[in-house]
Symmetry: C2
Subunit: 351 residues, 2 copies
């Protein structure tokens, strides 16, 4: 397959993540979530939702080293760049990527203006919630789905659509808002790093304009610190009013080898800390830790079927194999949700 073809396929896989096997096998339950102890019993207010253990210790030790003025690991604040994957690292990606749920809902919303979709795949399958047929529509079908739901409108229109959707759309299993399906330990980690002079970036395989509208409110990450996949855009003046038209053409795929490229394009310097959960983040962690000086790479391992979901090597969403195999020799931390996280999801509703 050509590089271009492979990248298009990747994009489709990222946005949709449609796997019949994965859909069935990877559904964890949120019902056993432990209440957060944040600010209550814990004598230590730092990372209260992290259990004592190797992962938490590695984070604290890293931050201590890079912030200790005069110490051998000191990193001046402007170079304290931390990058976070989004799906599966900051919020749940099971049982399907949130952006796929958005695309399906968007097809339903647009259907009245597209009567032809009732008899045309992959739209018919999306309308009927037939994920298996949707997946079977292949690259061409899924590309059509993505472009019909993510392009053909202006950036401002798309932002408003995402904002409206994310304000009410709910997780199919837990019934909670998707913005409540974020990981409490990771929210604490984002805040802890920022309190120690870090600039935190999201480096998502998902759409950059899909994450930006709510990333500041939910994660404290402003739009200019969100990196993601994108479609091309064109500047147009329509009746005297300038707009950015989103075109049905892929601009950039921010996954796997694309993540270090996206990081360099947006940030222009190498991060010193990287957080991911799948092999789509492998190169980002590799790039981060290949730099000189003190570095931290951490993989969130989804091994808690009771509180969230258990998946790694066999999963088609967030597959994690190479990362598990090589973490030890590379000095990367593997955080076990079951073992390292006192709580998984916030017990209070984020803003």
């Amino acid at each position: 397959m050509t590089s271009h073809g492979r990248r298009r396929l990747l994009f489709v896989a990222i946005v949709t993540g449609l796997m019949t096997v994965g859909l069935v096998l990877n559904q964890g339950s949120d019902s056993a979530a432990t209440p957060s102890s944040a600010g209550a019993a814990s004598p230590d207010p730092v990372l209260p939702s992290w259990n004592d253990g190797a992962a938490r210790t590695a984070i604290l030790s890293f931050v201590d080293r890079v912030t200790r003025a005069g110490g051998p690991g000191f990193v001046p604040p402007p170079a304290r760049i931390a990058v976070f994957d989004n799906d599966g690292t900051l919020w749940s990606e099971q049982p399907m990527y949130v952006q796929l749920a958005f695309a399906i809902d968007r097809v339903k919303a647009l259907a009245p203006s597209h009567p032809e979709w009732a008899g045309s795949q992959p739209f018919k399958a999306a309308l009927e919630g037939d994920l298996e047929t949707l997946a079977a529509s292949g690259e061409r079908g899924l590309s059509a789905l993505v472009m019909a739901t993510h392009a053909g409108i202006t950036s401002e229109e798309f932002e408003r659509i995402v904002q409206d959707w994310i304000a009410t759309a709910r997780h199919p299993k837990t019934g909670r808002l998707y913005t409540e399906m974020v990981y409490q330990p990771m929210l604490e980690l984002l805040a802890y790093l920022r309190a120690n002079g870090f600039k935190t970036f999201i480096v998502s395989g998902g759409g950059i304009e899909f994450v930006r509208p709510w990333a500041e409110r939910v994660y404290g990450v402003p739009p200019e610190q969100v990196i993601g996949s994108s479609v091309k855009a064109r500047y147009e003046v329509r009746n005297g009013r300038p707009v950015l038209a989103r075109l049905p053409e892929i601009n950039f795929i921010n996954d796997e080898e694309g993540k270090p490229v996206g990081i360099q394009q947006h940030i222009g310097r190498r991060p010193i800390a990287a957080f991911g959960n799948s092999d789509g983040d492998f190169q980002m962690l590799e790039w981060t830790t290949a730099g000189p000086g003190t570095r931290l790479a951490l993989i969130v391992h989804h091994d808690d079927d009771a509180r969230e979901a258990a998946y790694d090597r066999a999963s088609h969403i967030g597959r994690l194999a190479r990362g598990l195999d090589e973490a030890a020799t590379r000095g990367w931390v593997v955080a076990s949700i079951a073992r390292d996280w006192k709580t998984v999801f916030p017990t209070t509703t984020p803003k």
Copy 2:
């Protein structure tokens, strides 16, 4: 011409800016520069190198409005985004774009490894300093020049090359370092906006990786707040060491209609203040001022042949025609260097 062809041509024009007429006509003198009065006689420490006048008043009034809590024009700090063109807005672009001087010097540095260049255009012309022939080599020749000097190496190598070059290369007329050919009033403006809660971005038609290595030191703008034109890059692991290889292929042209696209891609929200000097900045100013609420757009008008250079409508570097024609009706401020700037260049060496 195809859109792609037009964009390639633009890139070449941006990077090289080779105009025989422009080169001859647009050479101003720096010798009459007025000494800076910064921090000395002026009773007002704000923007000391700006003369009292409409431009300075417009800036102060804008900042006052957007920072006045509870006022009708208040803008919360996260939305205080200001964008600055670089060439001709923050530093001198005469008698040639600095990046062209870099490309020519780079050809000379690489020539020993390329004996074939002695008899092959446009390299022969570059080696001989024959700018007229260089310009005559056309799009294909200039593309070859840019790619030979800006691609084929890693991002880290390119950064080091730029850093080494910018540390010693000097302006052909004044003999000063290029980083001393920055505009003192604009340095003050950058600092003034930041002191008022703004995030300042550079939005350059030039190469993003050409500006980043020195933008923080000279302008106080970190790499992640620099936007520019770029070549494509590829992530590769070479003997176990990951690199980002710069490819001889254009990725993005950040000029004219490209500037709002680049701004959206990098920043993800519309600026409230924009500063430029040429029609290459027109769309950036248009996009900025088309948003709701309080906005500021300012054009630096190069009308001071004694202290810098006088050029606008007829110039091939930094041509300014539409901006001058439409500024008044659009409410954009035109700052005259002759009238509005007490001093042009810093009298002390920047860091």
